[in-house]
Amino acid sequence: MSVDGTALDIVPRSARSEAGNVARPIGGLGRRLVVVLIALIAAAVIAQSFYVVQARPEDLITGAHGMADLLSRALPPAWSEFGEILWPTLETVDLAIFGTVFGVLMALPLAVLAAGNVTPARPLYYLARGIIALTRAVPDLVWALLFVTAVGLGPFPGALALSVHSIGMLGRLFSEVIEDMDFGPVEALTLTGASRLQVFTHAVVPGVLPSLLGIGLYRFDENLRSSLVLGFVGAGGLGFQLLTAMNLFQYQTVSLLLIATFVLVMAAERGSALLRRQVA
């Protein structure tokens, strides 16, 4: 507003051209054409995906009979084998715990180095970013295959695979949290003459810890699901039992294992959601 109160000028200067005209948005017809074009492109992308994956909806109808047969053979679940799946269940949970804990321990220092606002040196920043990108780009299933080859069958290669993949996933998320944190308290404590380590532990850590804990808990949830799949390539746990039961056509055992899997995943999901709320 001008100081003499004669004009209420609400158009910012930056929005005016040199000739004094106000910049105009795309007109109504042009806007509609753009929307139609985007809709056509989206439809084409979806249609080509149906073609490439050879989607045949009729097969779902003809396959219903087979599914019903499978279901009848899977019921009732083999409750008598409950005692035998306790150890593989524990293995599955421990795979996720090991993978998450070591993933967090390795990801934390890498995240500090890979966060542009706190990294101590540029070469370390690029090195940390490279490690994070590599461990994240390779799927955990591939890491499991590599570790099974290296250290043999069993839960250990699975735990290693989850750890390494978690480094990448957590490292990236942790570094983003650090980069997005409120830098005000860091400046305030820097000006007290505090050392870099003091500033880190008193300003950075309290600022980002709740987010890091939340991400870590979410990662545990993810790792639990992944550990089930890793069993398919020989990394132990419920996944390995599931593969064995399928190969031996023991569908009642399969249904018991699926129930155990469902309970485990739901418990982990609810548990980690509860803990995340506590630390928020």
């Binding site: 409120d182 308290p185 305030a188 003459g193």
Partner: protein, 261 residues
Amino acid sequence: MSVALGNTAPGAEIRLAVRGLRMRYPNGKLALDGVDLTVRAGELVTILGSNGSGKTTLLRCVARLLDPTDGEVRVGGQDLAKLNGAALREARLALAMVFQRANLVRRRSVLANVVGGTLGRNRTWWTALGGLPADELPLALELLRKVGVEQLGHQRADTLSGGQAQRAAIARALAQRPKLILADEPVASLDPEAAEEIMRLLRQLAADSGLAVLCVLHQPMLAVRYSHRVVGLRDGVVAFDLPAELCAEHAIALLYRDLAA
């Protein structure tokens, strides 16, 4: 409301001496162009100026949150502009800063935030690992009492109102036992009543504790009412440096001429 300003002794110790300070940002913008400024013990000096005039840049250069391109920033006889590393950390013990948004560690208690102001003189393994120096707690409590929020010591910082947070931030600054306080728009986000209280508190600290206070404000009325001197900054240059009682309305209006045009 009348405020007893009192006069600082002309011969009082110089706590901050800025000489020929220049600051050019990497994009080429010259934010400060040869700024000279002195703040003495017991004096509250306010800097006024429009947005982009260089006020905050000046404060951040003094605190060495920015590296000035040229010039001197003398605090306690040392030129901060020339220091780095451990020497800079040591020299920073003499100055404390109060920020526009208080900049408290939100998830920590008010008391822990105030004790945080003592970290510079408590560089131990315990504090490096995140612990607080227990023997500073009585001082922190006393300072919270001094700024009028002693009952909030055990509350989390993110539960405070704007005025309470700013008082806690001032207590943290005092915990440092500084000789100079820099205040960057400390009342910008406060309601008029809280703004008056904070300015009164800064004024009182200067008068009672002999602190030198350099404050950036956007409220000419508050500047004139509470400061000993008002410095006008325009396009990175000191336009005037006058005792508050001589700071005429037209001189202040000149600082904001572009806004009024």
